[in-house]
Protein backbone atom coordinates (compact mmCIF):
# COMPACT_ATOMS: atom_id res chain seq x y z
CA UNK A 1 0.00 0.00 0.00
CA UNK A 2 1.39 3.35 -0.98
CA UNK A 3 2.05 5.65 1.92
CA UNK A 4 -0.22 8.66 1.70
CA UNK A 5 1.46 11.86 2.64
CA UNK A 6 -0.58 14.44 4.51
CA UNK A 7 1.46 17.33 3.23
CA UNK A 8 -0.03 18.49 -0.03
CA UNK A 9 2.37 19.94 -2.51
CA UNK A 10 1.75 22.08 -5.55
CA UNK A 11 2.74 19.08 -7.65
CA UNK A 12 -0.12 17.02 -6.16
CA UNK A 13 -2.69 19.63 -7.10
CA UNK A 14 -1.22 19.95 -10.58
CA UNK A 15 -1.43 16.19 -10.98
CA UNK A 16 -5.06 16.26 -9.86
CA UNK A 17 -5.75 18.79 -12.56
CA UNK A 18 -3.95 16.74 -15.20
CA UNK A 19 -5.82 13.57 -14.21
CA UNK A 20 -9.08 15.47 -14.38
CA UNK A 21 -8.25 16.94 -17.79
CA UNK A 22 -7.40 13.49 -19.08
CA UNK A 23 -10.63 12.00 -17.71
CA UNK A 24 -12.61 14.77 -19.40
CA UNK A 25 -10.86 14.12 -22.73
CA UNK A 26 -9.40 17.61 -22.78
CA UNK A 27 -5.82 16.61 -23.71
CA UNK A 28 -4.58 16.57 -27.26
CA UNK A 29 -3.30 13.31 -28.69
CA UNK A 30 0.38 13.96 -27.90
CA UNK A 31 -0.29 15.18 -24.41
CA UNK A 32 -2.53 12.19 -23.82
CA UNK A 33 -0.03 9.56 -24.88
CA UNK A 34 2.67 11.24 -22.80
CA UNK A 35 0.33 11.23 -19.84
CA UNK A 36 -0.51 7.52 -20.26
CA UNK A 37 3.18 6.76 -20.44
CA UNK A 38 3.75 8.71 -17.23
CA UNK A 39 0.91 6.86 -15.54
CA UNK A 40 2.56 3.56 -16.37
CA UNK A 41 5.88 4.65 -14.89
CA UNK A 42 4.83 6.77 -11.94
CA UNK A 43 3.10 4.69 -9.27
CA UNK A 44 2.03 7.68 -7.20
CA UNK A 45 0.39 9.41 -10.14
CA UNK A 46 -1.17 6.11 -11.25
CA UNK A 47 -2.63 5.35 -7.85
CA UNK A 48 -4.04 8.85 -7.61
CA UNK A 49 -5.57 8.53 -11.07
CA UNK A 50 -7.03 5.11 -10.26
CA UNK A 51 -8.60 6.50 -7.08
CA UNK A 52 -10.23 9.32 -9.03
CA UNK A 53 -11.40 6.98 -11.77
CA UNK A 54 -12.88 4.69 -9.12
CA UNK A 55 -14.76 7.62 -7.67
CA UNK A 56 -16.23 8.56 -11.05
CA UNK A 57 -17.21 5.00 -11.88
CA UNK A 58 -18.48 4.30 -8.36
CA UNK A 59 -20.61 7.42 -8.30
CA UNK A 60 -22.15 6.51 -11.64
CA UNK A 61 -23.04 3.12 -10.19
CA UNK A 62 -24.44 4.67 -7.03
CA UNK A 63 -26.51 7.00 -9.21
CA UNK A 64 -27.84 4.02 -11.12
CA UNK A 65 -28.66 2.16 -7.90
CA UNK A 66 -30.55 5.19 -6.72
CA UNK A 67 -32.53 5.37 -9.95
CA UNK A 68 -33.39 1.73 -9.47
CA UNK A 69 -34.58 2.48 -5.96
CA UNK A 70 -36.76 5.30 -7.34
CA UNK A 71 -38.24 3.02 -9.99
CA UNK A 72 -39.12 0.40 -7.39
CA UNK A 73 -40.68 2.89 -4.97
CA UNK A 74 -44.38 3.67 -4.98
CA UNK A 75 -45.94 7.13 -5.06
CA UNK A 76 -46.80 7.13 -1.38
CA UNK A 77 -43.25 6.35 -0.36
CA UNK A 78 -41.86 9.17 -2.50
CA UNK A 79 -44.41 11.64 -1.15
CA UNK A 80 -43.55 10.64 2.40
CA UNK A 81 -39.80 10.85 1.81
CA UNK A 82 -40.16 14.25 0.12
CA UNK A 83 -42.23 15.61 2.98
CA UNK A 84 -39.88 14.22 5.59
CA UNK A 85 -36.86 15.77 3.89
CA UNK A 86 -38.39 19.18 3.27
CA UNK A 87 -40.09 19.30 6.63
CA UNK A 88 -43.40 17.50 6.58
CA UNK A 89 -43.08 18.34 10.22
CA UNK A 90 -43.36 21.86 8.97
CA UNK A 91 -46.90 21.39 7.72
CA UNK A 92 -47.97 19.49 10.79
CA UNK A 93 -46.11 22.01 12.92
CA UNK A 94 -47.92 24.73 11.02
CA UNK A 95 -51.27 23.15 11.88
CA UNK A 96 -50.24 22.63 15.46
CA UNK A 97 -49.14 26.27 15.58
CA UNK A 98 -52.47 27.41 14.11
CA UNK A 99 -54.40 25.24 16.55
CA UNK A 100 -52.26 26.46 19.43
CA UNK A 101 -52.84 30.06 18.35
CA UNK A 102 -56.58 29.52 18.25
CA UNK A 103 -56.53 27.91 21.69
CA UNK A 104 -54.34 30.75 22.91
CA UNK A 105 -56.61 33.41 21.43
CA UNK A 106 -59.69 31.70 22.87
CA UNK A 107 -57.93 31.34 26.22
CA UNK A 108 -56.74 34.94 26.20
CA UNK A 109 -60.20 36.03 25.06
CA UNK A 110 -61.86 34.08 27.83
CA UNK A 111 -59.36 35.31 30.38
CA UNK A 112 -59.84 38.91 29.22
CA UNK A 113 -63.59 38.55 29.45
CA UNK A 114 -63.35 36.87 32.84
CA UNK A 115 -60.97 39.55 34.08
CA UNK A 116 -63.29 42.32 32.96
CA UNK A 117 -66.33 40.58 34.43
CA UNK A 118 -64.72 39.87 37.81
CA UNK A 119 -63.10 43.25 38.33
CA UNK A 120 -66.28 45.03 37.19
CA UNK A 121 -68.23 43.13 39.78
CA UNK A 122 -65.71 44.26 42.39
CA UNK A 123 -66.11 47.87 41.27
CA UNK A 124 -69.90 47.58 41.25
CA UNK A 125 -70.05 46.33 44.85
CA UNK A 126 -67.17 48.43 46.17
CA UNK A 127 -69.41 51.13 47.57
CA UNK A 128 -72.17 48.94 48.96
CA UNK A 129 -71.01 49.83 52.46
CA UNK A 130 -69.38 53.27 52.35
CA UNK A 131 -66.43 53.60 54.73
CA UNK A 132 -68.03 56.58 56.46
CA UNK A 133 -71.00 54.44 57.49
CA UNK A 134 -68.77 51.70 58.86
CA UNK A 135 -66.12 53.65 60.75
CA UNK A 136 -67.75 55.87 63.24
CA UNK A 137 -64.73 56.72 65.41
CA UNK A 138 -66.05 54.97 68.47
CA UNK A 139 -63.28 52.43 68.90
CA UNK A 140 -59.50 52.46 68.83
CA UNK A 141 -58.34 55.40 66.71
CA UNK A 142 -55.44 53.47 65.20
CA UNK A 143 -57.74 50.66 64.20
CA UNK A 144 -60.20 53.11 62.71
CA UNK A 145 -57.47 54.89 60.77
CA UNK A 146 -56.06 51.70 59.36
CA UNK A 147 -59.45 50.29 58.45
CA UNK A 148 -60.49 53.55 56.82
CA UNK A 149 -57.34 53.50 54.73
CA UNK A 150 -57.78 49.85 53.80
CA UNK A 151 -61.47 50.18 52.92
CA UNK A 152 -60.78 53.31 50.88
CA UNK A 153 -58.03 51.44 49.04
CA UNK A 154 -60.53 48.74 48.15
CA UNK A 155 -63.10 51.31 47.00
CA UNK A 156 -60.54 53.07 44.85
CA UNK A 157 -58.76 49.93 43.70
CA UNK A 158 -55.42 51.15 45.15
CA UNK A 159 -52.47 49.01 46.33
CA UNK A 160 -54.64 45.92 46.20
CA UNK A 161 -51.91 43.32 46.87
CA UNK A 162 -50.87 44.85 50.18
CA UNK A 163 -54.42 45.85 51.08
CA UNK A 164 -55.88 42.36 50.63
CA UNK A 165 -52.91 40.86 52.45
CA UNK A 166 -53.47 43.07 55.48
CA UNK A 167 -57.25 42.65 55.35
CA UNK A 168 -56.79 38.90 55.28
CA UNK A 169 -54.81 39.07 58.53
CA UNK A 170 -57.44 41.31 60.09
CA UNK A 171 -60.19 39.01 58.81
CA UNK A 172 -58.58 36.12 60.69
CA UNK A 173 -58.27 38.28 63.82
CA UNK A 174 -61.86 39.48 63.57
CA UNK A 175 -63.18 35.93 63.40
CA UNK A 176 -61.45 34.87 66.62
CA UNK A 177 -63.69 33.83 69.46
CA UNK A 178 -61.94 36.18 71.86
CA UNK A 179 -63.29 39.67 71.50
CA UNK A 180 -60.73 42.10 70.04
CA UNK A 181 -60.49 45.48 68.29
CA UNK A 182 -61.63 43.98 65.01
CA UNK A 183 -64.50 41.78 66.15
CA UNK A 184 -67.18 44.40 65.49
CA UNK A 185 -65.77 45.16 62.08
CA UNK A 186 -65.62 41.50 61.02
CA UNK A 187 -68.46 41.60 58.42
CA UNK A 188 -66.98 44.71 56.75
CA UNK A 189 -63.44 43.42 56.87
CA UNK A 190 -64.65 40.19 55.25
CA UNK A 191 -66.73 42.12 52.72
CA UNK A 192 -63.91 44.47 51.78
CA UNK A 193 -61.50 41.57 51.59
CA UNK A 194 -63.82 39.78 49.13
CA UNK A 195 -64.27 42.98 47.07
CA UNK A 196 -60.50 43.63 47.18
CA UNK A 197 -59.89 40.13 45.83
CA UNK A 198 -62.42 40.69 43.05
CA UNK A 199 -60.89 43.98 42.05
CA UNK A 200 -57.46 42.32 42.07
CA UNK A 201 -58.79 39.47 39.91
CA UNK A 202 -58.36 36.85 42.66
CA UNK A 203 -61.67 35.16 42.06
CA UNK A 204 -60.99 31.95 44.01
CA UNK A 205 -59.94 33.86 47.12
CA UNK A 206 -63.01 36.08 46.83
CA UNK A 207 -65.28 33.04 46.57
CA UNK A 208 -63.65 31.43 49.62
CA UNK A 209 -64.23 34.54 51.73
CA UNK A 210 -67.83 34.87 50.55
CA UNK A 211 -68.41 31.20 51.30
CA UNK A 212 -67.22 31.72 54.88
CA UNK A 213 -69.36 34.85 55.24
CA UNK A 214 -72.41 33.01 53.96
CA UNK A 215 -72.02 30.60 56.88
CA UNK A 216 -71.51 33.41 59.36
CA UNK A 217 -74.14 35.94 58.32
CA UNK A 218 -77.59 34.63 57.70
CA UNK A 219 -79.83 35.80 54.93
CA UNK A 220 -82.21 38.45 56.05
CA UNK A 221 -79.36 40.53 57.47
CA UNK A 222 -78.07 43.29 55.18
CA UNK A 223 -74.60 41.83 54.92
CA UNK A 224 -75.95 38.29 54.57
CA UNK A 225 -78.17 39.30 51.65
CA UNK A 226 -75.39 41.19 49.91
CA UNK A 227 -73.06 38.20 50.27
CA UNK A 228 -75.67 35.90 48.74
CA UNK A 229 -76.29 38.32 45.89
CA UNK A 230 -72.63 38.77 45.09
CA UNK A 231 -71.88 35.06 45.37
CA UNK A 232 -74.73 34.31 42.97
CA UNK A 233 -73.31 36.69 40.40
CA UNK A 234 -69.87 35.17 40.77
CA UNK A 235 -70.97 31.62 39.85
Amino acid sequence: MAKIDNIIQEKDLLNDERISRYMQGRMNADEESAFIEELKNNADLRNQAIAQARLVKGMKQVNEELREAFREADEQTIRRIAKEASGSKKSSTRWIAIAASIVFIVFVGFKSYDYYDTTSLGREYANTFPTSTIIRGEANADVDTELTMLFNNVAEGKDLDNTTSRLNTLWELSKQETYNDYTDYAPYIGWNLAIGYLRNYEKTNAKAVLEEMKEMYLSGTIIGDQVLLLEKQLR
Binding site: I4, N47, I50, V56, G58, R67, A82, A85
Partner: protein, 208 residues
Protein backbone atom coordinates in the same frame (compact mmCIF):
# COMPACT_ATOMS: atom_id res chain seq x y z
CA UNK B 1 -36.47 -14.81 2.41
CA UNK B 2 -39.19 -12.36 3.47
CA UNK B 3 -36.81 -10.82 6.00
CA UNK B 4 -34.23 -10.37 3.27
CA UNK B 5 -36.79 -8.70 0.97
CA UNK B 6 -37.78 -6.32 3.76
CA UNK B 7 -34.13 -5.53 4.44
CA UNK B 8 -33.64 -4.85 0.74
CA UNK B 9 -36.65 -2.52 0.67
CA UNK B 10 -35.49 -0.72 3.81
CA UNK B 11 -32.04 -0.23 2.34
CA UNK B 12 -33.52 1.28 -0.83
CA UNK B 13 -35.78 3.57 1.15
CA UNK B 14 -32.84 4.61 3.29
CA UNK B 15 -30.95 5.57 0.12
CA UNK B 16 -33.89 7.53 -1.23
CA UNK B 17 -34.30 9.31 2.08
CA UNK B 18 -30.58 10.14 2.18
CA UNK B 19 -30.73 11.50 -1.37
CA UNK B 20 -33.83 13.56 -0.60
CA UNK B 21 -32.31 14.96 2.57
CA UNK B 22 -29.11 16.01 0.81
CA UNK B 23 -30.99 17.47 -2.12
CA UNK B 24 -33.31 19.44 0.14
CA UNK B 25 -30.33 21.24 1.64
CA UNK B 26 -28.95 22.12 -1.82
CA UNK B 27 -32.28 23.03 -3.38
CA UNK B 28 -33.39 25.15 -0.44
CA UNK B 29 -30.11 27.06 -0.37
CA UNK B 30 -30.16 27.57 -4.14
CA UNK B 31 -33.80 28.64 -4.44
CA UNK B 32 -33.58 31.09 -1.58
CA UNK B 33 -30.33 32.59 -2.88
CA UNK B 34 -31.27 32.72 -6.55
CA UNK B 35 -35.02 33.32 -6.52
CA UNK B 36 -35.63 34.58 -2.99
CA UNK B 37 -38.32 31.94 -2.48
CA UNK B 38 -39.88 31.53 0.92
CA UNK B 39 -39.16 28.41 2.94
CA UNK B 40 -42.68 27.19 2.25
CA UNK B 41 -42.38 27.74 -1.53
CA UNK B 42 -39.02 25.93 -1.52
CA UNK B 43 -40.66 22.96 0.19
CA UNK B 44 -43.50 22.94 -2.37
CA UNK B 45 -41.07 23.11 -5.30
CA UNK B 46 -38.97 20.38 -3.75
CA UNK B 47 -41.89 18.04 -3.09
CA UNK B 48 -43.36 18.50 -6.56
CA UNK B 49 -39.95 18.07 -8.20
CA UNK B 50 -39.20 14.86 -6.36
CA UNK B 51 -42.49 13.47 -7.64
CA UNK B 52 -41.55 14.49 -11.19
CA UNK B 53 -38.12 12.87 -10.82
CA UNK B 54 -39.79 9.69 -9.64
CA UNK B 55 -42.30 9.73 -12.51
CA UNK B 56 -39.61 10.39 -15.11
CA UNK B 57 -37.42 7.63 -13.75
CA UNK B 58 -40.35 5.24 -13.75
CA UNK B 59 -41.06 6.13 -17.37
CA UNK B 60 -37.36 6.01 -18.26
CA UNK B 61 -37.41 9.62 -19.38
CA UNK B 62 -34.24 10.62 -17.62
CA UNK B 63 -31.56 9.60 -20.11
CA UNK B 64 -33.27 11.51 -22.91
CA UNK B 65 -33.02 14.54 -20.76
CA UNK B 66 -34.06 18.12 -20.92
CA UNK B 67 -30.86 19.99 -21.54
CA UNK B 68 -28.90 17.93 -24.02
CA UNK B 69 -27.87 14.49 -25.02
CA UNK B 70 -25.51 13.84 -22.16
CA UNK B 71 -26.69 11.94 -19.18
CA UNK B 72 -26.94 13.96 -16.00
CA UNK B 73 -26.34 12.84 -12.45
CA UNK B 74 -29.49 12.41 -10.38
CA UNK B 75 -28.57 15.47 -8.41
CA UNK B 76 -28.12 17.71 -11.48
CA UNK B 77 -31.22 16.35 -13.12
CA UNK B 78 -33.21 16.95 -9.98
CA UNK B 79 -31.88 20.49 -9.69
CA UNK B 80 -32.95 21.14 -13.30
CA UNK B 81 -36.48 19.97 -12.46
CA UNK B 82 -36.50 22.23 -9.40
CA UNK B 83 -35.40 25.23 -11.48
CA UNK B 84 -38.08 24.57 -14.09
CA UNK B 85 -40.70 24.13 -11.40
CA UNK B 86 -39.61 27.38 -9.80
CA UNK B 87 -39.79 29.29 -13.09
CA UNK B 88 -43.25 27.87 -13.71
CA UNK B 89 -44.30 29.02 -10.27
CA UNK B 90 -42.86 32.50 -10.71
CA UNK B 91 -44.56 32.86 -14.09
CA UNK B 92 -47.88 31.77 -12.61
CA UNK B 93 -47.48 34.26 -9.79
CA UNK B 94 -46.53 36.91 -12.39
CA UNK B 95 -43.44 37.56 -10.38
CA UNK B 96 -40.54 38.77 -12.47
CA UNK B 97 -36.98 38.31 -11.44
CA UNK B 98 -33.67 39.58 -12.67
CA UNK B 99 -32.73 36.01 -13.32
CA UNK B 100 -30.75 35.37 -16.47
CA UNK B 101 -31.62 31.99 -18.05
CA UNK B 102 -28.16 31.70 -19.62
CA UNK B 103 -26.59 31.87 -16.21
CA UNK B 104 -28.86 29.15 -15.00
CA UNK B 105 -27.69 26.47 -17.38
CA UNK B 106 -25.02 24.02 -16.38
CA UNK B 107 -22.40 25.81 -18.40
CA UNK B 108 -19.62 24.84 -16.05
CA UNK B 109 -20.59 21.20 -15.76
CA UNK B 110 -17.73 18.89 -16.48
CA UNK B 111 -18.14 15.52 -18.09
CA UNK B 112 -15.88 12.54 -17.53
CA UNK B 113 -15.40 10.23 -20.52
CA UNK B 114 -16.18 6.57 -19.76
CA UNK B 115 -13.41 5.30 -22.10
CA UNK B 116 -10.78 7.40 -20.30
CA UNK B 117 -12.00 6.11 -16.95
CA UNK B 118 -11.71 2.55 -18.19
CA UNK B 119 -8.19 3.19 -19.52
CA UNK B 120 -7.05 4.42 -16.12
CA UNK B 121 -8.73 1.56 -14.26
CA UNK B 122 -7.08 -0.93 -16.59
CA UNK B 123 -3.71 0.29 -15.31
CA UNK B 124 -4.51 -1.19 -11.89
CA UNK B 125 -2.13 -4.14 -11.39
CA UNK B 126 -4.96 -6.01 -9.75
CA UNK B 127 -7.48 -5.01 -12.39
CA UNK B 128 -8.78 -8.47 -13.25
CA UNK B 129 -9.22 -9.68 -9.69
CA UNK B 130 -12.37 -9.35 -7.62
CA UNK B 131 -13.79 -6.69 -9.92
CA UNK B 132 -17.33 -6.91 -8.59
CA UNK B 133 -16.17 -6.92 -5.00
CA UNK B 134 -14.00 -3.89 -5.60
CA UNK B 135 -16.88 -2.04 -7.25
CA UNK B 136 -19.12 -2.91 -4.34
CA UNK B 137 -16.44 -1.73 -1.91
CA UNK B 138 -16.15 1.58 -3.74
CA UNK B 139 -19.93 2.06 -3.66
CA UNK B 140 -20.02 1.32 0.06
CA UNK B 141 -17.31 3.89 0.77
CA UNK B 142 -19.01 6.44 -1.48
CA UNK B 143 -22.33 5.91 0.27
CA UNK B 144 -20.68 6.64 3.59
CA UNK B 145 -18.45 9.59 2.78
CA UNK B 146 -18.22 12.07 5.63
CA UNK B 147 -18.72 15.80 5.17
CA UNK B 148 -17.14 17.81 3.51
CA UNK B 149 -15.75 14.96 1.36
CA UNK B 150 -19.30 13.86 0.54
CA UNK B 151 -20.21 17.28 -0.86
CA UNK B 152 -16.90 17.92 -2.61
CA UNK B 153 -16.30 14.49 -4.14
CA UNK B 154 -19.92 14.10 -5.17
CA UNK B 155 -19.98 17.64 -6.46
CA UNK B 156 -16.90 17.17 -8.60
CA UNK B 157 -16.79 13.51 -9.65
CA UNK B 158 -20.49 12.71 -9.35
CA UNK B 159 -22.27 15.84 -10.51
CA UNK B 160 -19.50 17.38 -12.56
CA UNK B 161 -19.55 20.73 -10.80
CA UNK B 162 -16.54 22.88 -11.54
CA UNK B 163 -13.98 23.86 -8.92
CA UNK B 164 -15.32 27.42 -9.21
CA UNK B 165 -18.88 26.33 -8.49
CA UNK B 166 -17.79 24.26 -5.51
CA UNK B 167 -15.74 27.15 -4.21
CA UNK B 168 -18.76 29.44 -4.41
CA UNK B 169 -20.99 26.89 -2.76
CA UNK B 170 -18.78 25.73 0.07
CA UNK B 171 -15.61 27.82 0.46
CA UNK B 172 -16.62 31.46 -0.03
CA UNK B 173 -15.08 31.45 -3.48
CA UNK B 174 -11.69 30.01 -2.53
CA UNK B 175 -10.79 27.62 -5.34
CA UNK B 176 -7.49 26.64 -3.73
CA UNK B 177 -9.37 25.56 -0.58
CA UNK B 178 -11.54 23.32 -2.75
CA UNK B 179 -8.54 21.84 -4.56
CA UNK B 180 -6.68 21.07 -1.34
CA UNK B 181 -9.73 19.62 0.43
CA UNK B 182 -10.70 17.59 -2.61
CA UNK B 183 -7.17 16.20 -2.81
CA UNK B 184 -7.24 15.26 0.88
CA UNK B 185 -10.65 13.65 0.44
CA UNK B 186 -9.44 11.63 -2.54
CA UNK B 187 -6.48 10.47 -0.47
CA UNK B 188 -8.78 9.45 2.38
CA UNK B 189 -10.93 7.55 -0.07
CA UNK B 190 -7.84 5.82 -1.44
CA UNK B 191 -6.64 4.96 2.06
CA UNK B 192 -10.04 3.59 3.04
CA UNK B 193 -10.31 1.55 -0.13
CA UNK B 194 -6.85 0.03 0.37
CA UNK B 195 -7.59 -0.95 3.97
CA UNK B 196 -10.92 -2.55 3.05
CA UNK B 197 -9.47 -4.23 -0.01
CA UNK B 198 -6.65 -5.77 2.04
CA UNK B 199 -9.27 -7.14 4.43
CA UNK B 200 -11.17 -8.54 1.49
CA UNK B 201 -8.06 -10.21 0.09
CA UNK B 202 -7.27 -11.67 3.50
CA UNK B 203 -10.80 -13.05 3.72
CA UNK B 204 -10.67 -14.64 0.24
CA UNK B 205 -7.12 -15.89 0.49
CA UNK B 206 -7.89 -17.34 3.90
CA UNK B 207 -10.78 -19.26 2.40
CA UNK B 208 -8.76 -20.43 -0.54
Amino acid sequence: MIVSLHKHKDEKERRLAKFAKEQWQNVRKFLIRRYSLSEEDCADVFNESLMILWQNLKENKVDVDCMGTEEKSNSNYFMTICRNKTMERLRNNKRYTKFNPKQDKDEDTIQFMPDKIDTILALDEDYNNYQEEKDSLVRTIINNLPSPCNELLWGYYGNGNSIRELAEDYYKGSESAVKVTKHRCTNKFRERFNIEYQKLLKKYNGKN
